[in-house]
Structure formats: structure tokens, C-alpha cells
Symmetry: C2
Subunit: 152 residues, 2 copies
């Protein structure tokens, strides 16, 4: 089915615990894969306002991720440093590679990108810059703890 | 990792048996997901020359698909008819929905799109317009038969 963006809800929510939520303020997503009825992977059309970021810097144990820049500019941050991404550029982040990544909009205009991730069960995410772990819930999705396992 | 398109091979191959191969002549793909080391799903940056098509019209038993139009125009064909897709438009094709789809470039310019599909094992594809079945090989990928199971 063709996606009618005017009917796809815009979500600004995050599952991050309170100390980290402000980091992704300015991020809004349309879950276009879900809108098409897909279940095996998610596709989001995501907008970052100036200074917003895609996520805390993280990597996944089981799930792959891929991004495509639609418009605006984004800075990709990984262990090797920063890379400026322009429209049409792409990047992939394979599961198990322990190199955290995220995108930051350091420009004065909004940035829009597609983000794709699969839904392999048992996934966890590690956050090299933050005292945070994302652990799999039995019913899908994540719960978040400190690195020592304590709840926030 | 950021994709350097200049290093990603351009593939014009197809697994279709001989009677159907000409249908996808004019299609070329860069397997950008593989280039990034992804294994759970594939992402291709695919170019259709004028008159070329993405595939024979088909649907999948287990795997979801999603496409994003990068440039040019494409005609999406499904059971409900034809829809013109322009840059920035998207469409998704959930597993198990028995409505064959493919894309045809009916314009005079090349068309470029992103196609995403997962790799759920045991997938088969049905082709409502052609005497063809794609069946899963034990090692991954497909083999093709006539609808009555006979080899081509």
C-alpha cells in the first residue's frame, strides 16, 4: 500500500527514563512501516529540529539499523568521530558491532531521514556515553536500567 | 558505517528462469545494506531504466517489503490497479497479503528507489501473472518452479 503521510501519526515519545528524555526532544517520527502493516521491520520517517538528536549514542546486540538522509544535514557520531551526512547519503549499523552511533542536527534547519530497524527478539542496546542499558521485555520493546541493573 | 556508493558493486543479475529474465533487464541494484554489513534485512538502491520493472508482480509469504522513491517516477501495479509514485513517496507490502506488486518505469528518465526486505526464513513468493513460484532453498535464497512444481 502507498503511504499517505497525512494520515500517519507524528510521535514525539521516547521510552528513555527521565534523565535522558531531553536529549531527544525535538525528534518526531512517523512510523511509516507500521502504517503499511509491516511487522518484521520498522521504517520511520524522522524529523530532527535544530540541536535535536536521533537517540543517545548506542549499539544493538541483535538488530541491524540503516538510515537514509532525505533532507537537511545530520552529523553522525561514532567511535571514529563525526561525519557530516547530506541528502542521499546512507549509513548502516550492523548488530553486535560495539561502536555506538547517533545523529545530531547541528544545522539551523530541520533534518529528515528514514530509519530502518528489524525486530529480532532478545535485542539489547548499550550506551557508551551514558549509564544506561536497554533490555528486552518478554512482550517486545525495552526496559531501561542503569549499567548495574538498578531501575531508574 | 557510512555508505560510499562508489565502492558498492552494481548488480544486474536475477535468479528468474530464462523465460522471465528479460522482464527485469534495465534494472540495476547496489546492495547498500550488505555493503554496511547488515544481515537481518537487505537494502538496495535500485535504478530502473525506462520500461524496466522492479520484478515480476509478486507477493511474499513471510517477508515484508518497503520502498522509497528517490528520483524519477514509478508506476506501482497491484490488484487495485496502477498508482504513480513520485520522489519522496513510499509504499509497503506486508508478508501474507496476497496482492502482487511491482514497479514499472513508464517514463523517459531513469528512476531510483530504495527497496528494503527482511530475510525471514521459509519465505516463498507467488506470481499472479506468471506460471512461476519462488521457493526457499535450505541455504537461503530461492529456487524457481512452475506452479505445478516442475522445474524450468
Amino acid at each position: 500500500m502507498v503511504i499517505d503521510l497525512s494520515t500517519v501519526p507524528v510521535s514525539q515519545g521516547t521510552g528513555y527514563p527521565a534523565p535522558f528524555r531531553t536529549k531527544v526532544a525535538g525528534r518526531s517520527r512517523q512510523r511509516v512501516g507500521n502504517a503499511a502493516g509491516l511487522t518484521n521491520f520498522g521504517v520511520n520517517l524522522t524529523t530532527l529540529a535544530p540541536n535535536a538528536q536521533s537517540a543517545l549514542r548506542h549499539w544493538h546486540s541483535h538488530q541491524d539499523e540503516f538510515i537514509y538522509v532525505v533532507s537537511g544535514e545530520l552529523v553522525l557520531v561514532t567511535d571514529v568521530g563525526e561525519t557530516l551526512l547530506k541528502p542521499g547519503m546512507m549509513a548502516g549499523f550492523p548488530a553486535r558491532v560495539a561502536d555506538g552511533h547517533h545523529l545530531i542536527n547541528r544545522s539551523n534547519e530541520i533534518s529528515i531521514y528514514l530509519e530502518i530497524g528489524d525486530r529480532t527478539p532478545g535485542d539489547r542496546a548499550e550506551y557508551p556515553d551514558d549509564d544506561l542499558l536497554a533490555l528486552p521485555k518478554a512482550e517486545g520493546g525495552y526496559y531501561f536500567t542503569q549499567r548495574n541493573g538498578q531501575a531508574y
